[in-house]
Amino acid sequence: MHIRQTQIGQTSQLLEYMTKSQNDLVVLQNKISTKKNFQNIAENPIAVGQILNLNGQLNKLANYNSNIELGQSQMEINDTTLNQITSNLQRISELAVQGATGTNSAESMNSIKQEVDQLIQGLISLANTKYNDQYMFSGTNTDTPAYTYNPTTGAITYNGTKTINDDGTKIANADSQRKIKIGDGMYIDLNVAGDELFGFYDPNDATKSTGLFNSLSKLSKALGDGDYDGVAAEIDNVTAGIDSISSQRAIFGANAQRMTMTQTSIEDTQLLLTSDRSSIQDLDLISAYSDLANYTYAYQASMQISSQLMNLSILNYI
């Protein structure tokens, strides 16, 4: 098949080959310098959709991870505080046993009472621990101290979010939990309401008093009255209080454990997704460099041929 050649046709054809080679080179250089397969969403729409998806998932996982960090530190503080509270209560328990012995004199009963009262104040203070500018045991009333003590009446009033009725039964849907999200639909409770652990005490109304503080206040009164039987009656309550605090520590421990396991799983998933994303988005440097060599050679060849062809003319011979 003969096609008649013309000067215009020939030069525009040669120019086009050179431009194409040059273009291929420039695109490849761009890829190598950014180390990415594509820069623009139009280059590979399907891959772009996948990358957007992966980016979104990785973002979420990073967020869950940082939430877990927050949660872990909260659990640690919870545990430390409850530990100190338990120490206090154990000392009170010892003192109660001592006070229940019928052989104590009035003075020794008095000094036992002094120490117990001190320890109770210590407990109230511990119950009002603040972490991150929030009162830990106030439920969602985080700006309000959990307990106030009236030195005149001896009342220990709970000011946090109520989760316990006056008779000691639990309120349904008390909404006292502070939560963080560690996964899709997975939340961890960061706190426990003070009244659930410690109760409250109203000196004028026994029906409005319940829990540990109720028992401790009655213990203190019994010590002051020299009521050995009264003291003995509270020993079991104090022990029960220590047990329920241990249970709560176990719950916090389980939370911490769950968060650690979730964190491991998150890290594994992050690794997987990152390598998925990398396989789509990242340039295969080895094949890119070999392509670079090929394209450079093609470009040089097209330039060489063009210059040779353009120099050939009948005018050289006439």
């Binding site: 054809q13 729409p45 957007l52 973002n59 939430n67 909404d175």
Partner: protein, 523 residues
């Protein structure tokens, strides 16, 4: 019969070969001229006359003459090239627009809208861990401002590009329409129409129309790239130009011209139709409107690309379509967040925090201020006007992180529950919550789909652009091979005519010498 005849033949041969050489040198001179068609001289024997010799009739030649100067063009390839180049310039212009749009959207870059969205929603999750914390609240505000800024920027950049192309629809003076790329193209089209008409006229009056035909073809090629014209060659050699069934040039008269006008929604001329902001009108030469809206005739070529990119046609990539989607996302986002910020549900009512001026005590108070608003006073929030409510910006405690049960007056049952983070958690989850306005998918999914769709459409346009470009190049190669100048041919012809000239000159000399002999005979 005399030597004069030989002299005459030789003289004519000299002239003819000289003329043929001129044609060859013209071809060589125009070797690189675009759109030049090579001219070929066709020679023929001039009309012989009869002689009677010895009672017999003989035919005596009288030399050579030029039969015709033929221009090497193929009308078939010319038409074919024009029709394909109309489509090629359509896709080329669409590809330019698509490239601009995808560069603006730039979701694979470091500052993607997706990342900004994620950061914003994450700030609510952080807030949920300590809702009264001022640092966390300030962070929510900062992320919100970054998000609305990015919306505004995307909107502005896309709008700017669109307005450069088809004029600003908020400018009722018409100045930006005049300066738009579309208007420049329309003016160029009108100029070319009048130039082609002029050439048609020149052609009728010229003796040798071949160079006029070349110039006219160049203009028609350029016009075909800008407007999807069809042409018809008339018997007298003029070319008529049609847009659809509407004649723009008939013979040697221009009968129509184009005008770019704004498309209003009604006869009060106060509001421009956002979906189809511009229309092309066809006027007659007196200025009367012959076709008020010829947009449906212009489905290809550069002008067609401008019309597509600047309107809201289904399933195409256009500035309007992308802006519409962006506006929908911004509006759904703002409405959904405001809903969580202000409206009660079965779980309770949203609560902001108020601080007692004297004691500094923080309590919950019903939330009454929206998070997002339109910064231009209009009632519909778009990507262009979305902004953080200035009242929220001034007082970060108005962000409703809590959602609690209320009494019959709407006041919180427990005003001290400032650590309640139910609303903040709901807000954090809103990115993936199903939205009715988006057809049941979440903002996250809808946005991802929008980006993927734009990328796929741009990809398809690029592909078409490449294919059409190749087609046009191929046709042009064929066309050029018919009408282009080959240096070897011309130089060979040059030598041919040069030798013939030499030979004719030799005859002239010979006849001349023979004449001299004759004159000396009588002496």
């Amino acid at each position: 019969m005399s030597l004069n005849v030989s002299l005459g033949i030789a003289e004519r041969a000299l002239q003819v070969n000289q003329y043929a050489l001129n044609v060859v040198s013209n071809n060589i001179a125009n070797m690189n001229t675009e759109g030049y068609s090579k001219k070929t001289v066709q020679l023929e024997e001039s009309y012989p006359y009869k002689v009677v010799l010895n009672g017999k009739q003989y035919s005596m030649g009288t030399g050579v003459q030029i039969a015709d100067i033929v221009s090497q063009r193929s009308a078939y390839f010319d038409d074919y090239f024009r029709s394909q180049s109309t489509d090629a310039s359509y896709y080329s212009e669409l590809a330019n627009g698509a490239s601009t749009i995808t560069n603006i959207l730039n979701e694979l870059g470091d500052t993607s809208l997706q990342k900004t969205f994620e950061d914003f929603y994450n700030s609510f999750e952080t807030l949920a861990t300590n809702p009264a914390n001022s640092t966390y609240r300030l962070q929510v505000i900062e992320k919100a401002k970054t998000l609305v800024n990015q919306f505004n920027n995307l909107y502005k950049r896309l709008m700017n590009e669109r307005n450069l192309m088809i004029g600003d629809t908020t400018d009722l003076t018409g100045i930006s329409l005049q300066n738009s790329a579309t208007n420049i193209t329309v003016n160029d089209i009108n100029t070319k129409l009048s130039q082609i008409t002029q050439l048609n006229n020149n052609m009728l009056m010229a003796d040798d129309p071949t160079s006029i035909i070349d110039a006219r073809n160049m203009l028609l090629d350029e016009l075909a790239a800008e407007l999807p014209i069809t042409t018809q060659t008339n018997l007298n050699g003029t070319i008529s130009v049609y847009l659809g069934n509407q004649a723009l040039i008939q013979g040697n008269k221009q009968v129509g011209k184009l005008e770019l006008a704004q498309n209003y929604t009604d006869t009060t001329f106060t509001k421009i139709d956002e979906d189809n902001p511009i229309k092309i009108q066809i006027l007659d030469m007196d200025g009367n409107i012959v076709n008020d809206n010829a947009n449906n005739l212009i489905t290809s070529s550069k002008l067609g690309a401008y019309l597509t990119l600047g309107s809201t046609q289904a399933n195409t990539l256009s500035y309007n379509n992308v802006l519409k989607e962006l506006n929908l996302i911004a509006n759904t986002f703002a409405t959904s967040m405001n809903n969580l910020q202000l409206n009660s549900s079965s779980a309770g009512s949203p609560m902001a925090i108020s601080i007692d001026a004297s004691t500094g005590k923080k309590t919950l108070t019903p939330s009454t201020k929206a998070l997002f608003a339109a910064n231009d006073g209009t009632s519909t929030i778009t990507a262009g006007n979305i902004t953080l409510n200035p009242e929220i910006n001034d007082n970060y405690n108005l962000i409703a992180a809590a959602r609690v049960l209320t009494d019959s007056d709407g006041n919180p049952v427990d005003p001290n529950a400032i650590g309640n983070s139910n609303n903040a958690l709901l807000m954090a989850d809103d990115f993936d919550a199903s939205q009715y306005a988006l057809g049941g998918v979440s903002i996250n999914t809808y946005y991802n789909n929008m980006i993927t769709k734009a990328g796929a459409q741009a990809n398809a346009i690029d592909l078409q652009d490449g294919i059409q470009g190749d087609i046009v190049k191929q046709i042009n190669t064929d066309r050029v091979s018919i009408m282009g100048v080959n240096l070897d041919e011309e130089l060979a012809d040059m030598i041919k005519y040069q030798r013939a000239y030499e030979a004719a000159a030799r005859i002239f000399t010979a006849a001349s010498e023979m004449m001299q002999l004759l004159t000396r005979l009588g002496q």
